[in-house]
Symmetry: C2
Subunit: 138 residues, 2 copies
DNA sequence: TATTACGTTGACGTAAACGTAAACCTAGGA
DNA sequence: TCCTAGGTTTACGTTTACGTCAACGTAATA
């Protein structure tokens, strides 16, 4: 009836909460790893008594961490990125520093992009040679 | 005068030889690292008495190792790749296994490519937000 | 009520990839 | 002949990123 109420799914999403083993399953990592990331100051789950309760934000943070890992970033580097994404009120100078870090990250990603292109090309080449050698060996 | 002789530069390249500190300088790594890679069976430089002499092939191998590192590959993984590139006479089965490894490497590189695209997009987004916040804070 | 499942906090262990220091050799100048 | 600059081996130390117990709490379930 009301066009003013936010969708229930949105409400549900905001309230979405995971246990530590939920996340471990979803991301195929161990609970130990998740606790370790917390000890490194990368996660700060809520608590129900002793038990950790992870929000959607924690979920996203974990996704960032693991994406970083796949790209060979250290946890320290991913932590910087994550902190960068977390809104921090600051002065112009600090904004400037964040912009520099963004540029830095971009630079690294571009280098990796370049490395991947070369590796792909070399794999292609090698595959061709392999096919030839295989034919010759028949 | 002869169209049969290989170019001198090619000869020169084959003879190209580096000391360990030459390579350390060129790649901006320590000699310790280079010796470590050898101890891991990834390099096998010639010797002049005690001293190591690195060929063009060693140079290329080092390049592969470092490219792998930039992409977050372990030395063990890079070693596999390097061995894959080294011509090994084998049977059809072994060729098949090499082809599978090539596919595997490609898969990983594609995942990384995808991760990079997402990261880049997120960096762009965040930069936009930063600019807005900076304007607002003036 | 006893078990099972899942959670917690220590705390020590481990693999990878070098760093660092000691103790030595050796060829080429001053 | 004595440095100095480079090279060598051996060996222990260090950082990162968790793995692996142990010892315990708690909630649902047979």
């Amino acid at each position: 009836m009301s066009s003013m109420s936010k969708s229930n799914t949105e409400q549900a999403n905001k309230a979405a909460i995971y246990t530590i083993s939920d996340l471990a399953q979803k991301f195929d990592i161990t609970t130990r790893a998740i606790r370790f990331y917390e000890s490194e100051g990368m996660l700060a789950p809520a608590r129900d008594g002793q038990k950790r309760l992870y929000s959607q934000k924690d979920y996203v943070t974990l996704k960032l961490i693991l994406r970083g890992k796949r790209l060979g970033w250290s946890l320290a580097e991913s932590k910087e990125l994550i902190q960068m994404y977390n809104p921090q009120s600051g002065n112009q100078d600090q904004y400037q520093r964040v912009l520099e870090k963004i540029e830095e990250s971009r630079g690294r990603l571009q280098q990796q992009l370049h490395d991947i292109e070369i590796m792909m090309a070399e794999l292609d080449e090698h595959e061709q040679r392999m096919h030839e050698v295989m034919k010759a060996s028949l």
